[in-house]
Amino acid sequence: MINKQISSPAEAVADIFDGATVMVGGFGEAGSPIELIHALIDQGATNLTLVNNNTGTGEVGLAALIKAGRVSKMICSFPRTANSTVFPKLYHSGKTKLELVPQGTLAERIRAGGAGIPAFYTATSFGTPLAEGKEVRTIDGRDYVLEYGLTADFTLIKGIVADTYGNVIYNKTARNFAPVMAMAGKVTIAQAATILHPGGLDPEIIITPGIFVNRVVHVENPEYESELVLSGATYPS
């Protein structure tokens, strides 16, 4: 019978392997699954390709994972956030590679990956350095760039409420990349502050259908990046 609840973040991320591609939900701190990321730091997997819009701030969450040297490649749109010091150092040392993708193209590539669309055309980036080396095509008189779908071995996301079927809803702008990353992950792991039995969520308001989520884990009082950074926290502490 179906029950996707896992007892702890540690158990939920236990099988993430060296060299895996991992999508991590969140735009800045909104929607960042910090407890799952910290569990991944503890777990030790390395040589990861990480997909997130940013590169984290301070030395917690995403930035802590990068600082720990576990990330060999970042795929993101904006690695240069204020208070983001960890990634620049590794980038300049050549230890972490960067694939810079326009934010909307990133979101669409992830959705495409999850939706079985191997490639699509977009006007975004045409004629710019980010289109260099990419196939272009004129359709109805406008120029477009060919972009490919993106999938991941694992996706880590943060919901506000989930059920044991894996249905998830989010909190305000914490939704951001999570629904498309959930689609694109071979194994999608969602932390949520509340976990209900099936039927606990109105079927009309579910944002991520359970079919896209493999594991749910209860994190009752998730930390926020800005508060951790403000308190001077680092991970591991």
Binding site: A115, G116, M183, P198, P203, I206, P209, G210, I211, F212
Partner: protein, 221 residues
């Protein structure tokens, strides 16, 4: 071909029950219209399947009582259904993202013809007068991880539905994994139609005679 086939082998209900035995617990399943729908009545004890209907519902439940239900809670066959606890609604593009993106574990469809290379024809007989109608069949066979076919072994006219090459327009190329008929369970292998199981009381020769391609016997262990 005689009317023997009416009484030999599995009934439609038994075919559906046989398919259900092969569906792992926790599977997300899309059932085609017709015989495939019967499968939902035969979920084995201790297993739970979640049914997807491509018009936007995951967690489709049984039909409502006759005369009951709602006009806006329907399945892909446009018949009234119910929703289970834990169901959710979504729009068509999301629904086919589930299909095309490989998120549905299993789809069971009917067939006009299945070829020994796994090609499926189930949407058109190619007749000049027929109005073509494809629905979601091509999306399902292209996107769902495992495609099972459930069908009578032969047409009403006694023609084989399992053939060397489909003569009807294809729904998909090399997409069928297994075929469940009244007479047998057959796997589509790299070498062709691999017999997996004969229906009770049915002989290999009886099935081969009614199959339009070579049937590989069950390997002796």
């Amino acid at each position: 071909m005689t009317t023997e086939q009416e009484v030999i082998g599995r009934t439609r209900e038994q075919m559906a029950e046989r398919v259900a035995q092969d569906i792992p617990d926790g599977s997300y399943v899309n059932l085609g219209i017709g015989i495939p729908e019967l499968i939902a009545h035969y979920v084995p004890e201790g297993r739970e399947f979640i049914y997807h209907t491509e018009n936007g519902l995951l967690g489709m439940g049984p039909s409502p009582e006759v005369g009951g239900g709602e006009p806006e809670l329907i399945n892909a066959g446009k018949r009234r259904v119910t929703a289970i606890s834990g169901a959710c609604y979504f729009h068509h593009a999301d629904s086919f993202a589930m299909i095309r993106g490989g998120h549905i574990d299993l789809c069971v469809l009917g067939a006009l013809q299945v070829a020994e290379n796994g090609d499926l024809a189930n949407w058109s007989t190619g007749g000049a007068d027929a109005i073509p109608a494809v629905g979601g069949a091509m999306d399902l066979v292209a996107g769902v991880k495992t495609i099972y076919v459930i069908t009578q072994h032969n047409t009403k006219d006694g023609q084989p539905k399992l053939v060397e090459r489909c003569s009807f327009p294809l729904t998909g190329v090399n997409v069928v994994s297994r075929i469940y008929t009244d007479l047998a369970v057959i796997e589509v292998s790299e070498k062709g139609f691999q017999l997996v199981e004969l229906s009770p009381g049915v002989s290999f020769e009886y099935v081969q005679e009614r199959t339009g391609a070579k049937l590989l016997p069950i390997p002796s262990k």
